[in-house]
Every structure is written in structure tokens, then in C-alpha cells.
């Protein structure tokens, strides 16, 4: 169990469960041929089926089914070869059919799990209850006209995966780690783009509190959170609110709440008494979904490597620290960049250069990895020059800054600026001799026991070489000359 929260009457345990709606990456909507791409003008991606015209019928999009199964496999979940689409009936202006086609009793994916790591290095397994396919609704725009609402049906019918966790998270940090990890897995699988701002990934968060060892408390559900920060804020706010409420002698009401992004608080959306009776029943327009083991095996064959697998490979094969491996696998693009940049060269040096210099520069410039002026191959080129002794680490930083600025290759920068490291023994000896000759007094002082002056000589030689002398060789030869 994780951290308890202390209240006036003692410690409280937090219990969190999450329902995540992930938009399926697909060519078309779940039951119609319309495009599912975000960003078109209102009502431009709407077929007769999406608008629920009379006599229109849904036809399942096989690609969405595959994506759901792939996701299930990625969550180590039970794949249900038999599943059923049900109608969830309710009236709303942006729900053209008057029902949402969803899966109620027989979801396509059953129990699975997600492993999360926390900042303290601990790792936890969060259980997945189920994953089912369902249609998204359209969008109501209430701010376009003083008395009317406008409806945009572009999203109506787009395929969503609802991924329901077990109530097994116990802190905002765990919840954040869970959604981040889930998002990462979905992005690695290519089944959801994970874009929370555009609404491709949204979470309903169930929160309750209880005294340790007691049965589950009454929960509230806060709907439609589209950022990790909002999820954490919601949990923190709800936990405080519920504890205060109970400690003041009140009781938590089971209800649906909304998060206000401006105040950071949640408020009642509808109570239990206003809860819809969705009148679920199997959609008679659709046959149950049936597939065989071969269908699953086929998808399994083409499964991409997932972050946990890549991470353990990076630790065992590349010798990276668990921390570095974590940083490099959180985002699919980062891992791909790293694999390219480090292929065939020193994995550790590349990892360092990527997580320190490259990320630092990107951060400072406020841009994504995708927009990096330094390509994986170019970063690899820089690492090569370091590894073969052409440049020192210090020079490399200068070279990198130039590469980041101009987009040039490392070698080009080194050549143009004449930064190549001097490893020629004769040249270094002659530079050292010059430095020693012009500082005879200091040489004497050193020899009479002032060891600290060694650094001074190194600095003078490096200065004389404009920083290009191989520092290891300078150290070694200097020591020989001074100590004999």
C-alpha cells in the first residue's frame, strides 16, 4: 500500500480507479467509412450512418477490431474471441442515433495489467478490468450563438477503446504514472496517438477514501480529464474534499463531477438520482464479434516491442542504468531516436549525450524531439568522434552547440573550426617543453613539493593547444617530464 493521508481523525487510504477513453488510430470510424482524422471543418467527416439517417446500418470496421486486440495483447490481457455490441440508450443533441454502440456484458478484452514505476524506484502492477470498443459522440458548441447550440458530428462514430482499470491506485502520483504508462504503451502499439490536448485520450477518474482496512468508501467520478496535471489535481482536490466532508460528520454522495480547469476544483455534474438508465441491450443491427486463435496469433506475430521489454534490453544488453533506460523509453520517438543514434557505437556515451546535451538543448529551445535540428545519425557521428579520440568531451560540447545551431554534421564543424584533438606525441611534447621552459620558476616550485601546480601546467598546455591536445596524453607526458 502507498502513502496514507492524515486527517484530523487519523490516516486515510485513497482508492483510485480510472476509465480511459482512447481514440483508436484507424482509417475510418468504428461503423462507417468516414474519416476519423482530427481537425476537419465542422460536419465534414459525417456519413449517412454517422448522422443516423433513417434506415442506415452500422458495419464494423475490422481495423478497429484489430487495434483493440493488439491493445489487449499489449496490456497482457485476456482476449475474448466472442464479444457483443450493445446499445447504450440516452438522448443528447450530439448523439444522433439516440444511443451509443458500446460493449456492455461481453467486452472484446478482459483482465490485464500495467506496470508502473514511481520516482522512489518502486514498481507496482495496476490491474486492468476490461477494454471495450465503443463509438464517440459528436460535439456540442454552446458559445456560437446566444440561444442555440451548434453540433459538430465529425467525431460522431469515431472508435474509442474504453480501458477500465481496477481500483488499485492509491495516490495521485500512481495515477499519473498509470496514465503516462498506458499512454506510452498505446503509442508504442500505434493503436492510439495519445494526444490528450486533442482529446484522443481522456480519463474519467473514480476516487474514494477509507480508513485502512475498512471496506471501500463511496466514490465520485470526475469526467473527461484531458491532462495528467488535471488528473492529479482532481485526485488531490477530491481526496481533501472527501476527507473533510467525512471528518465534519458528512458523507460522500455517489455522483458524477466535473473538473474546473480554472479553479482546480471539482463540482457536481449530476447526482445518482439523475443517473441515466441506459437500457443496454444487444444491438440487433450487428452480429456478435467472433474470431479465432489464428486471428490473434497473426496480430501477435507483428506486435511491436513495448517499453518494458526495450527497457530491460537496454539495461542488460546496452549496460544502461535503469534510470537512463526509463528516460529513453517513456516516449516511443525517444527510444527510436536513441536506437538509431546508438546503433553500432558506444551505447552508454550516446545515452548520456542524448539525455543530457540533446534534451537540455531541446528544452531550452522549447521544441520537441521531432523538430530536433540534430538527427540521430548526426548525434551518432558526434559520439564517434569522441570515441575515436578525435575530440575531447569538452570540445564535443562546443561542437554539439554548433550542430544544434546550424544543423551541420559533427565532422564538418570539427574540420571547419579546426577542432580536431591533437594526439600526436611529438607535437604535445614540444608544446609541453615550451610551457615548462617559459615557467621555470613554477617548475622549481613544483619540484620542491608544490604538487598543486600540476593543474596549472595542464591548463597552460591546453591553452597553448587551443583545447585540442588530448588531455590524457598531456597529463601523462607532463607527469613524466616533471617527476623525472
Amino acid at each position: 500500500m502507498s502513502a496514507l493521508v492524515s486527517g484530523r481523525t487519523g490516516d486515510w487510504e485513497i482508492v483510485i480507479g480510472m476509465e480511459v477513453h482512447a481514440q483508436v488510430v484507424s482509417n475510418a470510424k468504428l461503423f462507417s467509412g468516414s474519416s476519423a482524422v482530427f481537425g476537419a471543418s465542422p460536419n465534414h467527416h459525417v456519413s449517412l450512418v454517422d448522422a443516423a439517417m433513417p434506415g442506415m446500418l452500422p458495419v464494423i470496421n475490422a481495423e478497429c477490431v484489430k487495434q483493440a486486440v493488439i491493445t489487449g495483447l499489449g496490456l497482457n490481457a485476456k482476449i475474448n474471441k466472442f464479444s457483443v455490441f450493445d446499445r447504450k440508450n440516452y438522448f443528447y443533441a450530439d448523439l444522433p442515433q439516440g444511443y451509443q454502440i458500446s460493449q456492455f456484458k461481453h467486452p472484446i478484452v478482459g483482465e490485464g495489467e500495467v506496470q508502473i514505476e514511481l520516482a522512489d524506484g518502486s514498481s507496482h502492477i495496476i490491474g486492468i478490468e476490461r477494454l471495450h470498443l465503443e463509438q464517440d459522440a459528436g460535439k456540442s458548441l454552446h458559445d456560437q450563438h446566444p440561444s442555440k447550440s451548434y453540433i459538430d458530428l465529425n467525431r460522431s462514430g469515431v472508435a474509442l477503446m474504453e480501458i477500465v482499470s481496477k481500483p488499485e491506485m492509491h495516490s495521485a502520483e500512481q495515477a499519473a504514472a498509470y496514465i503516462k504508462k498506458l499512454r506510452s504503451i498505446l503509442r508504442y502499439l500505434g493503436t492510439c496517438d495519445g494526444n490528450m490536448e486533442e482529446g484522443s485520450l481522456r480519463a474519467d477518474v473514480n476516487v474514494s477514501v477509507r480508513k485502512p482496512g475498512e471496506p471501500l468508501g463511496t466514490r465520485t467520478e470526475t469526467k473527461n480529464l484531458n491532462s495528467v496535471r488535471f488528473i492529479m489535481q482532481t485526485i488531490e482536490y477530491e481526496v481533501q474534499r472527501q476527507i473533510e466532508l467525512i471528518e465534519d460528520g458528512g458523507a460522500v454522495t455517489q455522483e458524477t463531477r466535473l473538473f474546473d480547469t480554472t479553479t482546480g476544483m471539482t463540482r457536481t455534474m449530476r447526482g445518482k438520482e439523475d443517473a441515466h438508465d441506459y437500457r443496454y441491450f444487444p444491438d440487433p443491427d450487428l452480429l456478435p464479434l467472433n474470431f479465432d486463435d489464428a486471428f490473434i496469433a497473426d496480430l501477435k506475430k507483428d506486435m511491436p516491442e513495448l517499453p518494458d521489454e526495450i527497457k530491460s534490453r537496454m539495461v542488460t544488453e546496452y549496460g544502461l542504468s535503469s534510470y537512463d533506460a526509463n528516460v529513453l523509453t517513456e516516449e516511443k520517438e525517444v527510444a527510436a531516436f536513441y536506437e538509431l543514434a546508438s546503433a553500432g557505437r558506444d551505447r552508454k556515451i550516446t545515452a548520456n549525450w542524448m539525455s543530457v546535451e540533446l534534451f537540455g538543448a531541446l528544452n531550452k529551445a522549447g521544441i520537441d524531439l521531432a523538430q530536433s535540428p540534430v538527427s540521430p545519425e548526426q548525434l551518432g557521428g558526434l559520439v564517434d568522434l569522441i570515441s575515436d579520440g578525435s575530440i575531447s568531451g569538452k570540445i564535443a560540447k562546443e561542437v554539439f552547440a554548433d550542430m544544434f545551431e546550424t544543423g551541420k554534421d559533427a565532422k564538418q564543424v570539427v574540420d571547419e573550426k579546426g577542432l580536431k584533438q591533437v594526439s600526436d606525441e611529438g607535437a604535445i611534447i614540444s608544446m609541453i617543453d615550451k610551457v615548462l621552459a617559459s615557467n621555470q620558476d613554477k617548475v622549481d616550485e613544483y619540484r620542491s613539493g608544490k604538487d598543486k601546480l600540476f593543474g596549472f601546467f595542464v591548463g597552460q598546455v591546453m591553452k597553448a593547444s587551443k583545447g585540442q591536445a588530448n588531455p590524457g596524453m598531456v597529463n601523462q607526458i607532463l607527469k613524466q617530464k616533471l617527476d623525472t
Binding site: 448522422a51 443516423a52 434506415g55 446500418l57 458495419v59 464494423i60 439516440g98 444511443y99
Partner: protein, 493 residues
């Protein structure tokens, strides 16, 4: 003129292909008949100009030797099929004025086969009714008259489709059957009505009533005509997930195949208490006709028959309550404006839906509600499986089942509309086929003492419409039924 109306579709195709008549002549005869029989209120949206255009095209196709199997045949369409650029209302106030931009699969297959569209035919609102009296346009009237002369119901829900074919204002027509909506009006009007196997004809573009039960089918004057048009209507459609991937034979080839050696089941459970003597008589008559034609009669049992009607009146309204949610005044159809969204829904749906439709939405909503679902909908689905099993095991033993189509002949308009339960009892013999998904056909067998048509129903195993056609045509041959309603456009046989 009357000679043109007398032709069956099969005869008309022959005469058209021999250039003895033109499609425009034939079509004009039917357009005139639509006019002279307009008091029957069969057409809610006549499409005269479209009909003439299609007839001209058919004549050109005959001239070019490229005529399809239905080329030049004047056909009416139940107003439940969406027809491109032609108003489609489901005979409901909520859709009055709605014009689809698309054509249902079944009708587009008919037009592709060369059929000529005469217009949209009257029906019960959203196909909910057994007398065509729930239509926003008022009832379609049966062209037959009882001896006392009272106006009779054409049956329902496809009343206009049955009445027009019987009255000679359509050579053939299409309708839909959810619980008997083709077979019952066909029996009332003295024509042949086929409800195909569920999944045989695409439901795409047909205004949905109860999705797991709805099926399109034809109305014709002969069994041969039924096979002709059905061959054009049937077939797999990738736009309907419940449409079956089953090959469609040319059913015209099997119409006159012999029933000799066939085993025909007579289900004991269809003897209802208080059933009209005339119905019992015509049923016995049918049985002996088939015996004479060489079939073997077998007494069978369909033990769950008595649960079919209550089961149907849970499942059909439950599905309807959900299917009709889309008529909300937001995107199309009629809207009654109000202050809030909920008030707009309430006002729109209260004004747009008639009493029977509202009743069924309420029943269905109730049946699906939390706490009632298991007791009603789930139980009904379980019973439905038992009913299907009854038929499955019966068809292990027999090739077809013979029953009456309806418990009575056509009744007077207004006689039952105020008593929904009595009205629902009309479907007692037809509903089981919908629940089981099996095909059924009603074929006119004779007249009641009042001089009204009586129909016999044949049922067969899924996708065995071929058997229905051969047994029905055996009955047709022996019955020598004369289609002679008092209010027809002319002599029809």
C-alpha cells in the same frame, strides 16, 4: 386497358419482350388505375413523372436488348423504403416532408432490374399496426367489400402495398414484415405476400421498426410473380451486417416443381379456441389440396407457439424504442421548438408520433429498463430461442408447414383500433416466423361466406423459399382463386 391490368408480371414481361405492348402503355394503364382507385388511399406519394421516365427507359432497354428481369413492370413501394429524391415518411408526422438523398438496397436492385416506380404506398406509422389505421395519411382501404358494404381494412402494416396490387393500381409492390405486415394484408386483400428468411433481403435504407425481425418482401397476384420479383430483391449486402451471404437461385425455375413426396406439417397448436369456422374450413381445404397433389401430411407440434405473441410484443417494442430515438428533431424531420433541449424532444416527439407508436415506445422503454430487463427482454429472448428450436426440430421432419395466415378475414375499419390487444391478436399466426427468422408466404385460398379472401400460410426452413414457392403454387393451382374485388380498377383475372 383492362387487358393490360389483367396481365400477371410474368405475362407482361413476355408481352414486353415480344414488343406486343410497351412499358409506357402498361405504366399509363396503371397510372390511370391509381387515379380511379384513389379513394382506396393507397398511394401517399405518387411518382407519375418518375414512372413515365422509367417506363421510357425500359422500352429503350427492350429495344436495345438489354432489358432486366423486371424491365417495364409498374411497382409500388411501401413508404418505409427510403427512395432517393422522393419523400419518405414511414407514414409518420415526424418524417412528413423528409426526402432521402439515398435509395434503399432493395428498391435500387428493383430499379436496376428495370422496375418502374409508381409511387410510395400507405402503411401503418413506422409499420406499427395491423390495419393501416395508424398512418398519418389515414387508412388504406381494402378493395374487397363485405356483403354489407362496409369499408374494410386492407390489413397492415403494409396495407397500401396489398390493396394496390389487389385493386389493380400496382402490378406488384414491396412491403416489409416484422410480425405479419406482409402476410396479413396479403391475406386480407387476396394477393400473394412473401416474408423472406431474415437476412435474405438487405435492410439498408428501410426505416427500421424492429431490427431483428424486419424483412422486406413482395406482394404479387401470383406465386410465379412473387418468385420473379423476389429473385431481384434478394442477395447479400455488405452494408447490412445481418444480411446473409447465401446464393440467390432463380426462384422462377422452382415455382412449378412438384410437391409430390413432400412432407407438410400441420401444427396442432394453431387450432385456436374461438377461431372462425371458415378459417378452420380453409385450412382443412388446403391440407386436402396438398394431399391430392401428392404431398404427405404430418401432424406436428410447435409447443411454444402460445408464447410467441407476448414474446413479440416485448422484443419488437424494445427494439423500436431504441430505433426511433433518432427521430429527435435535431437533424431532420419535424421539430417543435422549445426553451430547453429536453422540452424540444418532448414537444417534437409528442407532436410527431401517433398514439400507437408512442404506446410501443413506452412499452419498449419499460421492458428495457433497469430492474425489468431480465424479467422481460431477456426472458423474451430465451422464449424466442425455444420458438426457433420448435421450428428447427419440425423441419427435421417436414419440408413445409401449413397454417392459416390470419384468425379472421378482413375486418371493418374502426372495428379494432380502440382495442390494441384485439388488434395484436391478428398477428398470432404470423409472428412466430419473424421470431424464428424463417420464411413464410401467404397465398389466397378462397372466400369467406361474406365473400372476402382467406389466406393460407406456408412456412419453411431458413433460405428454403424455393419450397414455399412450390407448395404455394400447388395451392394456387388447386384453389383457382379469382381476384375480383368490388373496388378494383378493372377486371384483374
Amino acid at each position: 386497358m383492362s387487358d393490360l391490368l389483367k396481365m400477371t408480371a410474368t405475362q407482361a414481361v413476355f408481352s414486353l419482350s415480344q414488343k406486343e405492348i410497351s412499358s409506357i402503355e402498361l405504366t399509363n394503364a396503371y397510372i390511370d388505375a391509381m387515379e380511379t382507385t384513389s379513394a382506396l388511399n393507397n398511394y401517399v406519394t405518387p411518382t407519375i413523372e418518375i414512372a413515365k421516365q422509367m417506363a421510357e427507359n425500359a422500352d429503350k432497354a427492350y429495344a436495345a436488348g438489354s432489358a432486366g428481369p423486371l424491365a417495364g413492370l409498374p411497382i409500388g413501394v411501401k413508404d418505409l423504403f427510403c427512395t432517393k429524391d422522393t419523400q419518405t415518411t414511414a407514414c409518420s408526422g415526424i418524417l412528413k416532408g423528409f426526402t432521402p438523398t439515398y435509395e434503399s438496397t432493395v428498391t435500387s436492385q428493383i430499379w436496376q432490374s428495370g422496375g418502374v416506380m409508381l409511387g410510395k404506398l400507405n402503411c401503418d406509422e413506422f409499420a406499427m399496426g395491423s390495419s393501416n389505421e395508424t398512418s398519418i395519411f389515414g387508412p388504406a382501404v381494402n378493395p374487397w367489400s363485405a356483403k354489407d358494404g362496409a369499408a374494410l381494412s386492407a390489413g397492415g402494416s403494409s396495407g397500401g402495398s396489398a390493396s394496390s396490387v389487389a385493386a389493380g393500381s400496382a402490378l406488384m409492390s414491396v412491403g416489409t414484415d416484422t410480425g405479419g405486415s406482409i402476410r396479413q394484408p396479403a391475406a386480407f386483400c387476396g394477393v400473394v405476400g412473401l416474408k423472406p428468411t431474415y437476412g435474405r433481403c438487405s435492410r439498408w435504407g428501410i426505416v427500421a421498426f424492429a431490427s431483428s425481425l424486419d424483412q422486406a418482401g413482395p406482394f404479387t397476384r401470383t406465386v410465379g410473380d412473387s418468385a420473379l420479383i423476389f429473385s431481384a430483391m434478394a442477395g447479400h449486402d455488405s452494408k447490412d451486417s445481418t444480411s446473409a451471404s447465401v446464393g440467390v437461385p432463380n426462384f422462377s425455375d422452382v415455382v412449378n416443381s412438384s410437391v409430390e413426396g413432400m412432407r407438410i406439417g400441420i401444427p396442432g397448436e394453431y387450432h385456436m379456441d374461438g377461431m372462425d369456422d371458415e378459417i378452420t374450413r380453409i385450412w382443412k381445404q388446403g391440407r386436402s389440396w396438398l394431399e391430392q397433389a401428392g404431398a404427405t401430411i404430418v401432424d406436428i407440434s410447435l409447443p411454444h407457439t402460445r408464447y410467441a405473441l407476448p414474446c413479440y410484443y416485448i422484443i419488437a417494442p424494445a427494439e423500436a424504442s431504441s430505433n426511433l430515438a433518432r427521430y429527435d428533431g435535431v437533424r431532420y424531420g419535424n421539430r417543435v421548438d422549445a426553451e430547453t433541449l429536453d422540452e424540444m424532444y418532448e414537444a417534437t416527439r409528442a407532436a410527431g408520433f401517433g398514439e400507437e407508436v408512442q404506446r410501443r415506445i413506452l412499452i419498449g422503454t419499460y421492458a428495457l429498463s433497469a430492474g425489468y430487463y431480465d424479467a422481460y427482454y431477456l426472458k423474451a429472448q430465451q422464449v424466442r430461442r425455444l420458438i426457433k428450436q420448435d421450428f428447427d426440430s419440425a423441419f427435421n421432419n417436414v419440408d413445409a408447414i401449413l397454417t392459416p395466415t390470419t384468425p379472421t378475414a378482413a375486418f371493418e375499419l374502426g372495428a379494432k383500433i380502440s382495442d390494441p390487444i384485439t388488434m395484436y391478436l391478428n398477428d398470432i399466426f404470423t409472428v412466430p416466423a419473424n421470431l424464428a427468422g424463417i420464411p413464410g408466404i401467404s397465398v389466397p385460398a378462397g372466400l369467406s361466406k361474406q365473400g372476402l379472401p382467406l389466406g393460407l400460410q406456408l412456412l419453411a426452413a431458413p433460405f428454403r423459399e424455393d419450397r414455399l414457392f412450390s407448395v404455394a403454387s400447388a395451392i394456387e393451382t388447386q384453389a383457382q382463386f379469382s381476384l375480383a374485388p368490388a373496388r378494383a380498377a378493372g377486371e384483374l383475372s
